[in-house]
């Protein structure tokens, strides 16, 4: 029980590792860095295993504990008025929740995380900033585990933003490269749009239920399912959450950051951008399943967006030449599958695919890293070829991963993908069969582009330079062992969830059943339709033949894709001939340029590029506002100042000429003018006075003498 009651140590161990790297990392030698960072994650994994065992042993439906009050005072004095008129205290706790859903995520995140940490000690051994890399990785593990263990939406959001930050830091790990730092910004800012959705969605949930806690929200939603079913508010809440999921899990239209995220070191792509972080959106939707089933409209949106993303990304993946980009589009496409599953109500199937995908996609990415490592950094498959003899372990393990993702029977991907396809076909009385068609086509494409990757990389003639060929080498043990472990899981992880139609008992789904039991959806408007997702076993028996038929079809699709890939790309010669380019050059160009979506976004939304003569988007708006600010608003202020000064000058002029001039100096001037004649008399010269006196006396004498 100790490990269960102290489950918060699971995220805290890597947090401590990250903190040590931040403070001391620069001075530590590599083996110490390895010991601390890999050790922290490995301990975290062991702790998780112990805690999960204790949890299973306890038999309780969940383990939940609030560690402390995070936001608010906990006194309950500050309250909000809710949607329904009730009141709820302003309070958010920092707490943990361990239930089957978080168990699944915890196990594969810490497990795959540990393997990728070990792999990184080999892959990054020649790189600068070694401690920085491991510090970021540990910080990522902390955030991701916080996200999974959180017991409420806001704590989940803490992890949600944290993984976004680490993703930013690791995509921009090679910060000298402009493309890397730009990709990092793109990832963070695109995700922030989704985060805004998560904030609004969580707040709506609080408004409705008066709590952020998952368990309470789920219980309240299930209890009030009859009144809430299909209401606008629940649709808005779930749609807002789904916007967040689209950001984090790279769905249309917010997927654009993920392909660029390949600028980061390859282990990062494997850990964050394939196995763990990008599945956070799936986690959130699965976590909120009680709400989503109450919003059939949102569910439709989720299913459609998922299916469209799946085929959209897969089609781009058909022609990419960068080995990591192919895998990036493949990831987006597979995430689309997961959302398709969630959207049709098959939550357990979606989560199962997350689980198997984590292994084979991590394997593929790490394998591609091993290839890139062998190729001295070359990522373009057109410059590879014939590598299978040189790096046999990498080849063998990657082939297993490819077979798994292609859906070849017996490997992990087959079971989970097939389950999704079957659910898409059968759920809601076949309402979504169009989406099944989309998913089926996607499966075909997946198999094709993955084998294109295999054939271009490992078969045919060597197309690399002599220097690269000279350096070709299999990767060190630290890298190949994780590959082998992941290859093992890519084969056998699927057997945890083998459905009854194949003679299994679907342990995986039973394990998750308590999380997804939504009686609401059975009783509600989509009752009949959802029955398929609720009790797949029963339904399957009814649909028996159909299910085997579809299964056969998808297996055929997998082999068809393999065959086509082999025909098209396993050929000798120095140049790769693209069949799509040969058949329809415009289609090829469109796909190669990713449907020009980045160009479109830059012109319309970010404003990094001009649309004709004008700049739109955020930067365009910013520039317009800035002009407005400088000219209109500040112009008004300065105008006010100018007017005041002008009025001052006018007053001064008036004062000088009118008040002082006409009023005061005017009379003075008149008086002065009048004084001139008088002045003549008062010149102050004695001789003048004497002269005047003489003339005066003479005058007087003359007057008197005449009279």
């Amino acid at each position: 029980m100790y490990f269960l009651t102290h489950i918060w140590m699971v995220p805290l161990l890597p947090a401590a590792g990250a903190a040590i790297m931040l403070l001391l990392g620069r001075r530590l030698p590599k083996p110490v860095v390895n010991g601390i960072c890999v050790g922290a994650v490995a301990m975290s994994f062991l702790w998780t295993v112990a805690a999960v065992l204790a949890f299973l042993h306890s038999g309780a439906p969940r383990y939940e504990a609030e560690l402390y009050t995070w936001l608010g005072t906990g006194s309950g004095a500050q309250v909000f008025t809710l949607y329904g008129g009730g009141h709820a205290a302003f309070h958010v706790g920092a707490g943990v929740l361990l239930d089957p859903l978080s168990c699944v995520w915890l196990l594969f995140v810490t497990g795959v995380g540990t393997l990728i940490h070990i792999y990184s000690t080999g892959y990054m051994s020649h790189e600068g900033g070694y401690y920085r890399f491991f510090g970021y990785l540990n910080l990522f593990m902390f955030s991701m585990l916080t996200l999974i263990l959180a017991n409420n939406y806001l704590m989940m959001f803490v992890g949600w933003e944290g993984v976004g930050l680490c993703s930013y830091l690791l995509i921009g790990f090679y910060f000298h490269k402009h493309s890397a730092s730009t990709a990092a910004n793109k990832a963070f800012i695109t995700n922030r749009i989704g985060d805004a959705g998560v904030i609004l969605g969580s707040l709506t949930i609080f408004w409705l239920f008066g709590t952020f806690d998952f368990v309470k929200v789920t219980e309240l939603a299930r209890a009030q399912s009859a009144t809430l079913m299909g209401t606008t508010i629940i649709t808005m809440a779930t749609l807002a959450l789904f916007v967040g999921a689209c950001g984090k899990s790279a769905q249309l239209p917010l997927y654009v950051w993920l392909p660029d995220a390949m600028e980061g070191p390859t282990p990062v792509s494997a850990l964050i951008h394939a196995a763990t972080m990008v599945t956070a959106g799936v986690y959130m939707v699965a976590r909120s399943n009680a709400l989503f089933v109450l919003a059939p409209e949102t569910m439709k949106v989720v299913a459609v967006v998922g299916a469209l993303t799946a085929i959209f990304a897969a089609s781009i993946g058909l022609v990419q030449n960068d080995i990591k980009r192919v895998l990036a589009y493949s990831t987006i496409s597979q995430l689309g599958y997961m959302f398709l599953a969630l959207g049709v109500g098959a939550f357990a199937a979606g989560v199962f695919h997350v689980f198997t995908h984590a292994f084979f996609k991590a394997l593929l990415f790490l394998g591609s890293g091993s290839v890139i490592h062998a190729m001295s950094g070359q990522q373009d498959m057109r410059g590879m070829g014939g590598l299978r003899k040189k790096i046999p372990i990498t080849f063998a393990t990657m082939l297993i991963g490819t077979l798994a993702i292609a859906g070849v029977p017996g490997l992990a991907g087959f079971f989970s993908k097939d389950e999704i396809l079957w659910q898409a076909w059968s759920a809601h009385d076949g309402q979504f069969r169009v989406l099944w068609g989309v998913a089926f086509l996607t499966a075909l494409m997946t198999s094709f582009y993955m084998f294109r990757l295999i054939f271009m990389t490992f078969f045919g003639d060597k197309r690399m330079t002599h220097e690269e060929e000279h350096h070709l080498h299999e990767s060190p043990r630290s890298m190949t062992v994780p590959l082998m472990v992941l290859a093992f899981c890519s084969i056998f992880a699927g057997y945890l969830g083998v459905g009854p139609s194949l003679g299994g008992s679907n342990h995986f789904e039973h394990f998750l059943a308590p999380v997804f039991e939504n009686h609401a959806s059975v009783e509600g408007a989509v009752a009949e339709a959802s029955a398929a997702s609720e009790k797949p076993g029963e339904k399957k028996e009814e649909g028996g033949l159909m299910e085997y038929g579809l299964m056969g079809l998808s297996v055929a699709a997998a082999f068809a894709g393999i065959f086509a890939g082999w025909k098209a790309y396993d050929r000798p010669g120095k140049d790769v001939r693209e069949p799509i380019n040969a058949a329809a050059p415009p289609v090829y160009r469109t796909l190669l340029n990713k449907y020009y979506v980045d160009e479109l976004y830059d012109r319309l939304f970010t404003g990094r590029a001009k649309l004709g003569p004008v700049r739109l988007g955020a930067i365009g708006a910013g520039e317009a506002m800035w002009k407005f600010d400088a000219n209109v608003i500040d112009g008004g202020v300065n105008g006010g100042g100018w007017m005041t000064r002008a009025a001052g000058r006018l007053s001064s002029w008036w004062d000088k000429w009118a008040v002082d001039g006409v009023g005061v100096n005017g009379p003075a001037i008149v008086v002065r003018m009048l004084s001139y004649p008088m002045r003549l008399l008062q010149a102050g010269l004695l001789q003048w006075y004497a002269l005047v006196m003489v003339f005066g006396v003479a005058g007087l004498l003359w007057y008197y003498l005449l009279h």
């Binding site: 931040l22 402390y68 009050t69 995070w70 936001l71 608010g72 005072t73 906990g74 006194s75 004095a77 500050q78 309250v79 909000f80 008025t81 809710l82 302003f90 806001l154 959001f157 803490v158 933003e161 944290g162 930050l165 930013y168 921009g172 910060f175 000298h176 402009h178 730092s181 730009t182 990092a184 910004n185 963070f188 800012i189 922030r192 749009i193 985060d195 805004a196 904030i199 609004l200 707040l203 709506t204 609080f206 408004w207 955020a618 930067i619 708006a621 910013g622 520039e623 506002m625 800035w626 600010d629 608003i633 500040d634 008004g636 202020v637 100042g641």
Partner: protein, 532 residues
């Protein structure tokens, strides 16, 4: 000391300024040491207030009262009357703390007329502290105006090339607002006399009569009076569209001036809204049109400030416009008119002081080395200054509201409060969060990432121990508020509840039975605390 703690905190910087006057101007080292010592002392003397206040945080009303409402100019009823509640307590701590940090950061940045610089700076401290402590409007107004002069001189003497323009703009713009506030308060003063027969500027007593204005003079007069106050505070905050003095003042001010300007001075505006606008005009702020206007201006500020930040080429101007955006959140929280909104707003004011203060320090570090704030001059700085880059990143993240750092706690609380008041307000404000990430990360990329391409940046030196010392406490507080904000919420709970109560059910003056608080406030306040 307990009974006079506020006066001690208030006048320590002033004493420091006086002591500086006695030192010969040529002895710069001694002046620097003395000024830093007094700045540190100013912070240290405020520290005992922390445990003392914590004990009394749940007490209703203002605490640590000093003086009385009419002991200064009894004929007009003005007094040296100090007291604090949780809101002013936090702002006072922010002031003493940031004051010390900014004075510490000026050590090498200021080399011209050093003595006057520090003297004015310390005087500014006293002015700001007085604003947050005064319980008498007359006294408040004196500090409010007195604080303008030192800031005016700090910008005007030690500022950049357009310092005179910026300083005069700052001074006149603020003064314009204050005059209308003065007019309004004189109305309240005479109104109070008409109601009670007492001439007083005591804020607590005006609380009981000011809400009566709409019923006596009608809503138009009350609204006009509200706007008299509002304009003064809106200019100070600054709210859109009264913000244009801010970028100019920030760009021209010396680094420490910017830190204090953003960190503390702007909070005088939000403080005024909380302390005066809401309690004096509880009916007016609830008029739907008035409230909608306030909220709209806040939201425009959030989005507009973010968009304008995005296209700035001068780092300081960028940070200045980001302040407009952040303060928009603060005012939005205030006009959500619920407890969490006010708590979140005050907390966000503290956060903004920490984060944006740090951002100005960060810009100042580069400016001191390169004498330019032009973003295009930089690039690849994290290669040459790794420690500086790390610290900058943490503060950038704090400013953009990343969870587990301080900014998120305030922003989210405000968003939640706004949502619960009207969900559309939150929906409109949320894009500000996206924009914050955009302008800050883009700035970070252009300054810190990439290769060092400008040869002038190749030899830049990383942080000195003194510079590092200015940042570490800021980071510690950012983490504290981010991880465990509960103590802050607890300090704010009681005063915020009181304001919400005043807004919803003001305790009105009743001629037949004057409320108890009026009688108490009229007596010398120390009588209450004589027992301690």
């Amino acid at each position: 000391m307990y009974n006079h703690i506020l006066s001690i905190i208030l006048f320590t910087p002033l004493v420091g300024a006086a002591v500086l006057m006695l030192i010969p101007a040529a002895n710069k080292t001694l002046i620097r040491w003395t000024a830093n010592a007094f700045a540190l002392l100013g912070f240290v003397v405020s520290l005992p207030l922390v445990p003392w206040f914590w004990e009394r945080k749940a007490e209703v009303g203002f605490k640590f009262l000093e003086g009385s409402p009419n002991n200064w100019i009894p004929t007009i009823g003005a007094g040296y009357y100090l007291g604090i509640d949780g809101i002013s307590f936090l702002l006072i701590m922010l002031t003493t703390f940031l004051g010390f940090i900014s004075i510490l950061s000026s050590w090498t940045a200021i080399d011209d007329r050093v003595k006057e610089y520090y003297a004015w700076f310390l005087l500014l401290q006293t002015g700001m502290l007085g604003v947050f402590m005064a319980l008498d409007f007359f006294l408040f107004f004196v500090f409010w105006e007195a604080m303008l002069v030192p800031m005016y001189l700090l910008i005007g003497i030690w500022g950049g090339p357009r310092r005179l323009y910026a300083a005069i703009k700052f001074f006149l713009y603020t003064l314009l607002g204050s005059v209308l506030m003065l007019l309004s308060v004189i109305f309240l003063y005479f109104f109070h006399h008409a109601q009670t027969g007492i001439y007083t500027f005591s804020i607590q007593e005006l609380y009981h009569t000011a809400p009566l204005i709409p019923s006596v003079y009608g809503t138009t007069v009350a609204t006009l009076l509200f706007f008299g106050f509002f304009l003064a505070f809106a200019i100070k905050v600054p709210m859109f569209p009264f913000h244009t003095w801010l970028p100019d003042a920030h760009v021209e001010a010396p680094t420490a001036g910017s830190v204090i300007l953003a960190g503390v001075l702007l909070k005088m505006g939000t403080y005024g809204l909380i302390r005066f606008s809401l309690p004096f005009f509880p009916a007016v702020v609830q008029y739907p049109k008035v409230r909608l206007l306030m909220v709209t201006l806040s939201i425009i500020g959030i989005i507009y400030g973010g968009l304008v930040s995005l296209v700035q080429k001068d780092m300081k101007k960028l940070v200045a416009y980001s302040s407009v955006s952040h303060l928009g959140f603060c005012t939005l929280g205030i006009f959500a008119l619920n407890g969490p909104g006010l708590s979140g707003s005050v907390l966000q004011q503290i956060n903004h002081g920490i984060s944006t203060g740090a951002l100005f320090l960060i810009v100042g570090i580069l400016y001191e080395r390169r004498h330019t704030r032009d973003i295009s001059e930089y690039g690849g700085i994290s290669t040459v200054m790794p420690v500086y880059a790390t610290i900058s990143l943490i503060m950038f993240l704090s400013s953009m509201g990343l969870p587990l750092l301080n900014g998120f706690v305030g922003e989210f609380t405000i968003l939640q409060a706004a949502y619960m008041a009207n969900w559309k307000w939150a929906a409109w404000a949320v894009p500000g969060v996206v924009l914050a990430a955009a302008y800050l990360l883009w700035l970070y990329q252009r300054v810190f990432f990439g290769k060092v391409e400008n040869p002038k940046n190749e030899k830049l030196t990383d942080l000195t121990p003194r510079e590092l010392a200015t940042f570490l406490p800021l980071i510690a507080i950012a983490l504290w508020i981010g991880l465990y904000p509960k103590p802050f919420f607890e300090i704010l709970e009681q005063p915020v509840a009181q304001i919400v109560e005043q807004v919803n059910h003001p305790k009105l003056y009743n001629a037949a039975a004057p409320p108890a608080a009026v009688q108490v406030a009229a007596k010398p306040a120390n009588a209450q605390e004589a027992g301690r």
